[in-house]
């Protein structure tokens, strides 16, 4: 399977994210907070696939803001029902990206179930997302990201990625109280 470097893909998304609220999980989170440092990032989502559900809550609570979810394939597999919940709520401001590397990278890089065969866009489409696509090429991502983020959600994008540069795994920041307080303050001030 063709794959993009994850950090390069995130850099392209960051160029178009503006002041969107961004919920990111695990490896994508560690890279995102370096690529787009902002108090409008939320990376404290507990565990076990809860990024998408946090994204839904933010999208409902702040319909005036775009909400980007940077999920992982392992994370989404732990919370597949959230696809249906999100589709039913149908927030037009929710953009759900999955950094699909086919492994549980945070836990030893063991393959995820269905790695290489599971059709995430198909699942999202069947759940009722307004649109869903897979992208495995940086040039393709660059050309499509404007339309993706300019459209109406809920939108799903399966980003076929592999690890790029190594980034610090800043769990202290991820789970620290300071990050959540800053996010809350930034959200309420904006």
């Amino acid at each position: 399977m063709k794959r993009m470097k994850r950090d390069a893909a995130l850099e392209i998304i960051a160029e178009h994210a503006g002041d969107s609220l961004v919920v990111a999980a695990y490896q994508a989170a560690f890279e995102w907070i370096v690529i787009r440092p902002s108090d409008l990032n939320l990376v404290a989502t507990g565990a076990m696939g809860q990024a998408s559900s946090h994204g839904l809550g933010l999208a409902i609570g702040r319909p005036d803001r775009k909400v980007l979810v940077l999920d992982g394939d392992g994370s989404l597999l732990m919370n597949l029902g959230s696809l249906v919940t999100i589709a039913e709520a149908a927030p037009e401001n929710l953009f759900h990206f999955v950094c699909n590397n086919g492994v549980y990278e945070a836990n030893g890089s063991h393959p995820t179930p269905g790695s290489g065969t599971v059709d995430f866009p198909g699942l999202a489409r069947a759940a009722g997302y307004r649109s869903a696509a897979a992208i495995d090429d940086l040039a393709d991502l660059e050309s499509r990201i404007g339309d993706v983020l300019g459209g109406r959600g809920p939108v799903f994008v399966d980003l076929r990625v592999e690890q790029g540069e190594a980034y610090p795994q800043d769990y202290a920041y991820m789970h620290g109280a300071g990050h959540r307080a800053a996010f809350k303050a930034a959200l309420r001030a904006s």
């Binding site: 507990g46 565990a47 933010l58 609570g61 919940t85 959200l187």
Partner: protein
């Protein structure tokens, strides 16, 4: 004191107390204890936005995220769903200190038996699990107990901590 005490438990009083607490959103997976007396009326109540979730841990996250936005929410679930959500409750509500407000029906609780004295594990262990996680809990037995709902939810949001209301019998409509 018996588990259910004398007097009825009014679903309408609970719903009004939820509204008085400033709750705008109710997130739920159906619970047989609260289905008729709370969830069906809530689902038809235009003052409350009802969000159906596939699994209860989604609701923990949605409540927390709405809280970041300054919006109040209630997670209405069954004891079985509470058990299934323990990791989310542990991380997102307890460790992160988010004001996740839960209302949990004790499916299977015997009448006039305190939950901790129930013969059913699924009923008996709910309150001890809340205690060990340090989550404040309130047992709603009669309509008078509904008076505690609004101030308790208010305190949860003021202090950034979770709270759980426990129901052992079905509220009347």
């Amino acid at each position: 004191m018996t588990a259910d005490a004398n007097g009825s438990l009014s679903g309408r009083a609970i719903v009004e107390a939820i509204k008085a607490a400033g709750v705008e959103y109710v997130i739920s997976v159906p619970d047989i204890v609260t289905s008729d007396g709370l969830l069906w009326p809530i689902s038809r109540d235009s003052d409350l936005a009802h969000i159906r979730v596939c699994k209860e841990d989604e609701g923990v996250s949605i409540c927390a995220a709405l809280g970041y936005c300054g919006k109040r929410a209630l997670l209405l679930i069954q004891n079985t769903g509470f058990f299934d959500s323990i990791n989310a409750i542990r991380a997102i509500a307890v460790e992160y200190g988010n004001p996740v407000c839960m209302m949990v029906g004790l499916q299977g609780k015997e009448p006039d038996v305190l939950p901790v004295r129930s013969n059913k594990v699924s009923v008996r262990i709910v309150e001890p699990m809340l205690d060990v996680m340090g989550i404040a809990r309130h047992f709603l037995r009669t309509t008078a107990d509904a008076d505690a709902i609004a101030p308790t939810i208010g305190a949860a949001y003021r202090d950034d901590r979770p709270v759980c209301f426990v129901l052992g019998r079905s509220p009347a409509g």
